[in-house]
Amino acid sequence: MTSRSTSSKRRAGGIRARMFAAFAALALGAAVQAQTVPLDKPLTLVAHTAAGSATDLAVRELGKALQPIIKQPVLVVNRPGGSGAVQMTSLRDGPTDGYTLGLNTSSHLMVFHTAAKGKLKRDDFAWLAGLQTDPFVLYVRKDSPIKSLQDLVALAKQKAQAGEKLNVGGALPQGSAHSIAFSIFAREAGIPFNWIAFSGNGEIAPAVLGGHVDVGQTNPGPLIPLAKSGRVRVLAVMNATRISSYPDVPTYAEAGFPVDTTWAQLRGIFGNRNIPKDMQDKLTRAILLAAQSDSWKAYMERSSLLPLNQDQQAYTALLAKQEKIGVQWMHEIGLLKE
């Protein structure tokens, strides 16, 4: 009820349009509550990477979008280490009042089976809301003879006959979300490959442009400058539909390789599982409202990210599905044994 009184107080002195909006909102009752979800004290968001990274930026943008909704300042704290293990440990052992939350990616799920095996598990946390999907794209340099995904597979098969393998430049090691994505495609296409791990697209791009690897894989956002300036050709995007920032780039399915596109880099918000249930609901509502704000949408558009906007139930189910796929691939790659 506090939400209704504060929002109507704010509107009381407003201009006519605002008055009208207030009346309309009163009439719709529930809609008024949907505008804000006031909280009692400042909220802390914990990022698992250093300041300046893509994930850190997502946390800071969310913080900006949340402030007017929860009517409280949002503090961002960076707790890097152990691919999220440090951040997750701090959340599990921290306060359960719901005022300390973290941002998670798909890689967090793999940490339960590697770095934090036996120490942390998915059930230790409440997965409050899914925010965004960062799909994968494959690209070659502009003057490469490879024009399509079919050409790429043909080259891989030709190399395989000569006893060689396709060299794929990608981010992070075997078993990372990136490497699993290419493994899924390679299985569908039936090709062997060498995964050449780089720290990010800043290292992958020169290797692709210089012809040191056959193909590069990255996320759409970091590739925009090279794609727009015509230095690289983007072959396909691993997503169910085409994405707006690359309208001419086909999906893997359109290019002839109908892979399961459940596997993408996800980002969402999670917290301690002992946060009271009504607080969890409040937080989910606030986060999903923030995801509808103009500033958040503009950031998503700029960075070529796709909205996920899933509530707790849907997001938890999606993560469970992802975890299963990930674990299965970790076994196949040989990083998990049992």
Binding site: G82, L209, R231, R302
Partner: protein
């Protein structure tokens, strides 16, 4: 429009009152970030990003770039005065800079760092203005095999920093390489030497090692001296400014350091730190008194300080001309470009000349500002040395620990740094050189990863390391670097024998 016209046009952007203000603000923030160990320009710009979103993109980028090269100025101050490199690029400065301060020449060291940085920055910007697009094309010829050869060359160069004993130098290098292997391996994804500690999964941060070995080790030595009753305060000898002799010796290193810094900066991943190493080693090789390096040679400050500033211009080349970030800081800058909806690349020079040249020209202005900002402060900064040890040592320790904590907001890193501090103190006692440890930590990771990437690409064939002209040239250069000290030592031994001189041992 010719490049020259474009440069002039750029000044009409960079000299507006608002942009002058943002240049100043960036330089000032950068100096602060540079002084604090731990908080580097990458994190600094990252923190600035969300605040600048409503600003004009050109102004915001001018401010961020100012922060980047400002940090290179700031890092030298603490290196020289309290042996605490505030920035990875300032490690080499500490070797001779701090010794200069102990010899009473802190003012000269600070002055040459500021002047060298200014000259190098200016040379770098001119090179950036004229060569950006063609040079970016050369940079992409460096694949994993070429990077490995480059790292091998740098390692070979570092081998001359081993100090008095080859065995101790080797031990230090091996220890550094071992530290570099800690963490999840980038190729296989397997954890190495992490002892089940999650904080070690992402490796040991370079700054933790540096701050521990250099600064905390120095504090411990200081405490020992104090307990022994040695409370003498360092005195400034002679005038604060450079002597004619010092200036004459610095010109060459500044010019050579600028060249090395710029071209190393152009190569993605090679970065500022390696250019400072190479510059230092080059000066040592060219010097008539290489044995005096490490005891307060002004060449050892002038060269690396120039190199790190010129490299900040070099890394702008792949960033602006291709949209490829060559360092952690430029990766954040690329994020800023994307945030503003600006695509770096060759087209940027045509589509947004106001932005490109406004930014480049602001760097001329910023460098001048930093010189004006820093030179008068030399007199103020050297007074830090007059602070009694009982106050200075705890202060230095506090700054170090806060700095280390801010890298990852982790108390684990603080303990780790203290551990390296004890190690640094012990190594001083045992006369084990510290520089090779630090440099092996920096170079080791890239060297190993490049080596394995190259072998993955070639399916295990080592022929890839001699498959290009660049690689072969670098390998030969590395070989020369390795053999040179042996030959020099051999010649020296023969001379010594013929002279039959004895007794003169190397003083500490």
């Amino acid at each position: 429009m010719s490049t020259f016209d474009a440069i002039l046009q750029g000044f009409s952007v960079s000299l507006t009152p608002a942009n002058l203000w943002f240049t100043f603000l960036g330089c000032l923030l950068g100096t602060i970030v540079g002084v604090l160990p731990g908080l580097g320009p990458a994190a600094g710009i990252g923190l600035l990003l969300p605040i600048t979103f409503t600003m004009d993109p050109t102004s915001a980028l001018i401010m961020m770039a100012g922060m980047y090269y400002g940090a290179m100025y700031g890092g030298s101050t603490t290196s020289i005065l309290i042996n605490t490199p505030g920035e990875a690029g300032s490690v080499m400065t500490a070797l001779d800079g701090y010794q200069m301060a102990r010899n009473g020449r802190a003012g000269a060291a600070l002055a040459v760092a500021a002047i060298g940085s200014f000259i190098a920055g200016t040379i770098g910007i001119v090179a950036l203005s004229l060569l950006a697009v063609p040079l970016a094309e050369v940079a992409i010829d460096f694949g994993p095999a070429e990077y490995f050869c480059l790292m091998l060359f740098a390692m070979a160069a570092v081998s001359s920093l081993t100090g008095s004993s080859v065995a101790k130098g080797m031990f230090a290098t091996m220890l550094g390489l071992a530290v570099a292997t800690v963490g999840v391996d980038l190729q296989s994804g397997l954890a190495r030497f992490t002892l089940d500690v999650p904080q070690l999964e992402e490796g040991i941060d370079f700054l933790v090692v540096v701050v521990g070995l250099f600064a905390i080790g120095e504090v411990l030595s200081g405490i020992e001296q104090y307990l022994r009753g040695d409370t003498a305060v360092l005195r400034i000898q002679g005038r604060l400014w450079l002597t004619r002799e010092e200036w004459r010796r610095s010109v060459g290193p500044i010019l050579r350091g600028s060249m090395i810094g710029f071209f190393k900066g152009v190569l993605p991943g090679a970065g500022a730190t390696i250019s400072t190493i190479l510059s230092y080693v080059l000066e040592k090789r060219l010097s008539k008194h290489p044995e005096k390096f490490g005891t307060g040679m002004i060449e050892g400050v002038a060269g690396p300080e120039s190199a790190n500033n010129a490299s900040t211009c070099g890394v702008m080349v792949p960033l602006l001309a291709l949209g490829i970030p060559g360092s952690a800081t430029t990766a954040v800058l690329l994020g800023a470009f994307i945030m503003y909806g600006i695509q770096p690349g060759p087209l940027l020079f045509d589509t947004r000349p106001d932005l490109v040249w406004g930014l480049v020209d602001s760097m001329y202005v910023g460098n001048l500002m930093l010189l004006i900002l820093n030179l008068p402060l030399v007199g103020l900064f050297v007074r830090i040395l007059y602070i009694p040890k009982t106050i200075l040592l705890p202060m230095v320790l506090a700054i170090c620990l806060i700095g280390v904590y801010t890298i990852n907001n982790s108390t684990f890193d603080v303990w780790l740094a203290l551990g390296f501090g004890v190690l640094g103190y012990a190594f001083r006692k045992l006369d084990i050189p510290l520089a090779p440890i630090v440099l092996a930590v920096v170079l080791g990771g890239t060297m190993e990863q490049s080596f394995r990437r190259a072998l993955s690409i070639s399916d295990g064939s080592p022929a890839i390391f001699v498959s290009s002209g660049i690689a072969i040239t670098l390998l030969i250069a590395a070989l020369v670097m390795l053999c040179l000290p042996l030959i020099v030592a051999l010649v020296a031994r023969m001379r010594r024998r013929s002279r039959q001189a004895g007794g003169a041992s190397v003083a500490h």
